[in-house]
């Protein structure tokens, strides 16, 4: 079979990681491991720099639109790197015929989210392509932020230790199911709303109150399964997740049961996984609960000393199984 790019290469799973390794990082001379933001030295300070493209289908979905997503996603990539988000760029590839009214609505959402997150949109670019050459609108945002002293380690995962707790700020999977429900081509509807939100204020409060934060990652494409496998790969340590403690909303569980999805593999746009030293978890849960983006936080598992780099799920039945890196197509164009 001739090797070509398939949708699976954009799904956030193993194919995408292999593609990045094979084609990009080597050619660009980028250091491993890859993190949500690059941490750069800049006149004696640490600068976090990140970029992300948004191709969600449909452009409007319950709980947000592509503009809100484009701001929140990049803000979150900076925030989980221990940075205070400062500046954002926004590039638009627009299909000929796209209505002004929709573009204005999307821009207004971006302005509102940027204001809430305290980040300034300072530069951008606009391109228009012929009808049929892009699906309405694609947006790319890049973000820069200042890494605060004492938080440089957060994106590297170097402080992760066996016994550390895995904490998530709320139920996973809502974004995927909301977007899926909004697609016109599937006879599936749902009242689930996307969790799309900027998490920088929540993360700031947690980091200010607790110096035992060893790692953070926003849980997007590929879901918890991808993030946990990435961390296991970086650290060489195993992870265990207790299935009953993962807080999945009933409508999401129902949709998963019906459509054959696993909530652990579903994409999110307002979820952060925090790995923190044992003993600090109650404090972190308390702080999360006081933030609108952290209303149902849970400790979902811990870092293991053995098990090499496997991610083990303690199932609801009391059995055990591996959570693998997602392979192949999950849901295309979810963000």
């Amino acid at each position: 079979m001739k090797d070509i790019i398939t949708l699976g290469h954009g799904s956030g799973g193993k194919q995408m990681h292999d593609l990045i390794k094979e084609i990009f990082t080597g050619s660009f001379g980028m250091p491993e491991p890859l993190t949500d933001s690059a941490i750069l030295d800049f006149t004696g300070n640490k600068l976090a720099f990140t970029t992300d493209s948004y191709v969600v289908d449909p452009l409007f979905f319950p709980g947000g639109n592509i503009g809100k997503l484009a701001v929140c996603g990049t803000v979150n990539d900076l925030a989980v790197s221990g940075a205070r988000p400062l500046y954002l760029s926004a590039s638009f590839i627009i299909e000929e015929g796209f209505p002004f009214a929709k573009l204005s609505e999307i821009a207004a959402s971006m302005a509102e989210e940027a204001h809430k997150a305290g980040i300034k949109i300072v530069t951008g670019d606009t391109k228009v392509v012929e009808k049929g050459k892009c699906d309405g609108l694609f947006i790319t945002t890049s973000g820069a932020g200042a890494v605060l002293p004492g938080r440089e380690h957060i994106s590297s995962g170097k402080r992760i230790r066996p016994g550390d707790k895995l904490i998530i700020n709320g139920p996973p999977g809502n974004h995927s199911i909301a977007v899926l429900g909004a697609r016109k081509d599937l006879s599936f509807t749902t009242n689930v709303v996307s969790d799309c939100a900027a998490l920088n204020h929540l993360i700031e409060s947690v980091c200010n109150a607790c110096d035992e934060i060893h790692f953070m990652r926003d849980v997007t494409r590929g879901g918890l399964a991808a993030v946990l496998n990435e961390i296991a790969g970086i650290t060489g340590m195993g992870m265990s997740v207790d299935e009953p403690s993962v807080p999945v909303d009933d409508p999401v569980r129902g949709a998963c049961e019906m459509l054959g999805f696993d909530p652990l593999y579903l994409a999110n746009e307002g979820k952060v996984l925090i790995i923190a030293g044992a003993g600090s978890e109650d404090k972190i849960l308390g702080i999360m609960r006081s933030d609108p983006a952290g209303t149902r936080p849970e400790i979902i598992g811990e870092v293991l000393s053995g098990e090499k780099n496997h991610v083990i799920l303690n199932t609801v039945t009391g059995g055990k199984r591996i959570i693998d890196m997602p392979i192949g197509l999950q849901l295309p164009r979810i963000c």
Binding site: L186, T317, G319, K320, G328
Partner: protein
């Protein structure tokens, strides 16, 4: 969540596991012949709850896995035609054909659309009257009635650009083929969803002719453990019969409406099963009154299917003769990213589930 949590109750599961351990009087090998069971058994970590003496093996229960390569090759051939929209369940996308996969054809520009039901495919036909819309009909008695209803709907709506490439199969003849093969099993975890349609009586021939136990089982962990316990009792008592564990869904006679629409639209044909070869009267194709919906009949294509990789043991695995680990390609040349056989692609395939599960050890 109602109807889910009560069947995943940990205390009940532990009690059932303990009861199984207490009732073991020898060694037992049970075969599940439903991909849904294969997936659920791994998903809930059932093997880790069972004593060593109880071995579960997977049979030909994954529709994707038992589909011969020439079906994928034909679908690929159709996808090359500019006047065709191919509609399929997602599971088939990554299955390797002789030369390529539907996923790669789609990436190269073929109009291939994933649907969740035949009726979604019919909708595609309705809104694209200038295209021939071909639906890849795959699955056992569980999905065949859905395809039959879709064909009936096409008749009622007078839709003439809708076609089915049918790989639908029925399960009992394959179970008989396994028993005739002499595969060493003590009983079947019978397919719960197939039995919702067929009724448990479809398996009566198994204890009668072959003296093996049968328990029609549900898909939650308590269902599966209770089903295994019931099979152990049948073996211990040397009293094989067809028992229904999945009583909340399955009856002796099944769903008469689904059976009648299936019988009205389809006729049985000899079908080739991957790993088994041809099995008499085990396939379903549109019958003579519905032949205008049969893609093979209306839009014939020729394919030059290549033999499977000779090291691939999918066939023996589907017959319960080998485990995936005995295959020299397993987890090396054949893995979920680069599958050699369909069993490594489908989430219900034995190789795929073993790949995930065995790494845990």
């Amino acid at each position: 969540m109602k109807y889910i949590d009560e069947y995943r109750d940990k205390d009940l599961i532990m009690k059932l596991a303990a009861q199984i351990r207490r009732s073991v009087k020898g060694t037992y090998t049970f075969m599940e012949v439903c991909g849904g069971h294969t997936a659920a058994i791994q998903r809930f970590g059932i093997p880790s709850l069972l004593p060593e003496e109880v071995k579960l093996i997977s049979g030909p229960g994954c529709p994707v896995c038992v589909t011969e390569k020439d079906f994928i090759d034909k679908a690929i051939e159709y996808s090359l035609r500019k006047d065709v929209i191919l509609t399929t369940f997602g599971d088939l996308m990554r299955v390797p054909g002789s030369f390529t996969s539907l996923e790669k054809m789609k990436s190269s520009g073929a109009d291939i659309r994933i649907v969740f039901s035949g009726l979604d495919a019919l909708k595609t036909a309705r809104i694209n009257p200038d295209k021939k819309v071909i639906f890849l009909g795959i699955g056992f008695e569980t999905t065949a009635p859905g395809t039959a209803v879709t064909i009936k709907s096409a008749v009622i709506e007078k839709i003439s650009n809708f076609f089915v490439l049918s790989s639908h199969k029925v399960m009992p003849p394959a179970m008989e083929a396994i028993l005739k093969d002499g595969t060493a099993i003590d009983g079947f975890i019978c397919p719960g969803h197939v039995a919702v349609i067929t009724g448990s009586s479809a398996f009566d021939f198994i204890p009668e002719k072959y003296s093996r136990g049968c328990v029609v089982t549900g898909f939650e962990p308590t269902d599966i453990l209770l089903g295994i316990y019931m099979l152990i009792q049948q073996v211990n008592n040397n009293d094989p019969f067809v028992e229904i564990q999945y009583k909340r869904a399955v009856t002796r006679n099944g769903n008469p409406l689904a059976k009648s629409v299936m019988q009205a639209v389809f006729e049985k044909c000899d079908a080739s099963w991957r790993g088994f070869g041809p099995i008499l009267l085990s396939g379903l194709v549109p019958g003579k009154d519905y032949r205008r919906f049969d893609a093979e009949y209306q839009i014939p294509v020729m394919v030059n299917s290549q033999p499977d990789n000779e090291l691939c043991m999918c066939g023996d695995i589907l017959r319960g003769w080998k485990t995936p680990e005995e295959c020299p390609l397993f987890s090396r040349a054949c893995n979920p990213l680069n599958p050699v056989g369909a069993c490594m692609v489908s989430n219900e395939g034995s190789c795929n589930t073993w790949y995930k599960y065995k790494l845990a050890k």
